[in-house]
Point group: C2
Chain length 225, copies 2
Amino acid sequence: VLETKELKKNYYIGRKIVVPALRGINLKIYEGEFVAILGPSGSGKTTLLNMLGLLDRPTSGKIYIDGVDVSNLNDNQLSEIRLRKIGFVFQYYNLVPILTALENVELPMTLAGVPKKERIRRAKDLLKAVGLEKFMDHKPNELSGGQQQRVAIARALANNPSIVLADEPTGNLDTQTSKEIIALMKRINIENGTTFVIVTHDVEVAQEAGRILQIRDGLLYEVRT
Amino acid sequence: VLETKELKKNYYIGRKIVVPALRGINLKIYEGEFVAILGPSGSGKTTLLNMLGLLDRPTSGKIYIDGVDVSNLNDNQLSEIRLRKIGFVFQYYNLVPILTALENVELPMTLAGVPKKERIRRAKDLLKAVGLEKFMDHKPNELSGGQQQRVAIARALANNPSIVLADEPTGNLDTQTSKEIIALMKRINIENGTTFVIVTHDVEVAQEAGRILQIRDGLLYEVRT
Ligand SMILES: Nc1ncnc2c1ncn2[C@@H]1O[C@H](COP(=O)(O)OP(=O)(O)OP(=O)(O)O)[C@@H](O)[C@H]1O
Ligand SMILES: Nc1ncnc2c1ncn2[C@@H]1O[C@H](COP(=O)(O)OP(=O)(O)OP(=O)(O)O)[C@@H](O)[C@H]1O
Ligand SMILES: [Mg+2]
Ligand SMILES: [Mg+2]
């Protein structure tokens, strides 16, 4: 469902300095897998996830989603895939500051044309599932760090995507809340066959994964299948 | 060095909803201690740290820094204490986006009137101590999450504060980098007698603490001395 070939990404600072964040990544992720990606700070995890989530373009190399080479798609087609197929949990949540928690979770459904009654019902269910039923009308700056993170997780699940890419989804959660979030993702993975690719430092998340990939200095290693 | 009496903080949403984030906190932290504060997401940890760091005012109750009741101080005196006495690591770093990593660490020293040559030398030493000597001229948006977090830690240490308040300083770091940061803080605590109060979900940090305080629903419990 997700594949890359010799994926490379360079960042440029000024004109001289090149940061080779990804140095040739070859990845194959099959439908319904629950994969964890671990690696040191600065090793390229967010960069890789941004490529897979079609949020940024590689310097070179290929990305295939469901076997389709994404470099052949135009911007409209890419944003359709991002809206309906991929749920993305950002490392820093990227919630819309002027919207409440409920409205933030509704937003992807609004963009996908889901009728109002249904999207409110679904947004409430998702916020309940992440333990935030009492905080639906808080804006992001009226929520704690971990609460914002959970709104971002609920939002990523809004359109029932076939692939969820999560960048450190439990970084700001205590152990108990972390376990509840991992259990929720695992349940969706088993019940809906949703593919999960989770960047994490949390050993508890890695233990739930069917496969662990390690990234170091922009290169990928498989740890366990 | 830090004391609170019946500290309370209410947040208000619109006019009706009151969120009692802190419901009467009594805390005593002695000079040179290394204290960890644990607790579930949304329990009031950031709110408490913001009170201790004089970044926000309580609804009621007292705060004493070095025995001085801070409610008797004017804004100038408060900002002097914040600049010279307290180093604060924010949960979301709060780095200045237009400055490089080096300039961000220099900033507190610039405000405190430290000569340019000395503040550049010290800023470089601190960035080296957190493993970022190769990223000094990156701006925050040219750094990974964990790299930004480490710049924020280096910045909090810039003026050699007597108290460091850190809000989840290892949330976005892998285990190895986390250990290096904890070791750095422990070293500064032992060598300089700096008091550390660290909000964390990381068991590794809690294990290094001399004392663990638990916060739940806005109230404080002591776990181990
Ligand atoms: N500005 C605000 N307005 C309204 N409610 C707020 C505001 N800031 C925080 N809260 C609420 O106060 C409670 C405590 O928040 P706080 O940020 O202190 O929690 P925390 O322990 O740091 O959580 P986390 O571990 O998730 O960062 C939460 O329930 C949150 O929703
Ligand atoms: N916009 C950018 N410009 C320049 N360099 C960048 C940019 N974004 C990231 N980098 C660099 O690319 C490397 C990889 O960054 P990335 O954010 O992918 O790391 P990461 O594995 O997610 O780290 P963390 O676990 O700390 O979040 C880092 O060394 C970082 O400094
Ligand atoms: Mg990252
Ligand atoms: Mg917090």
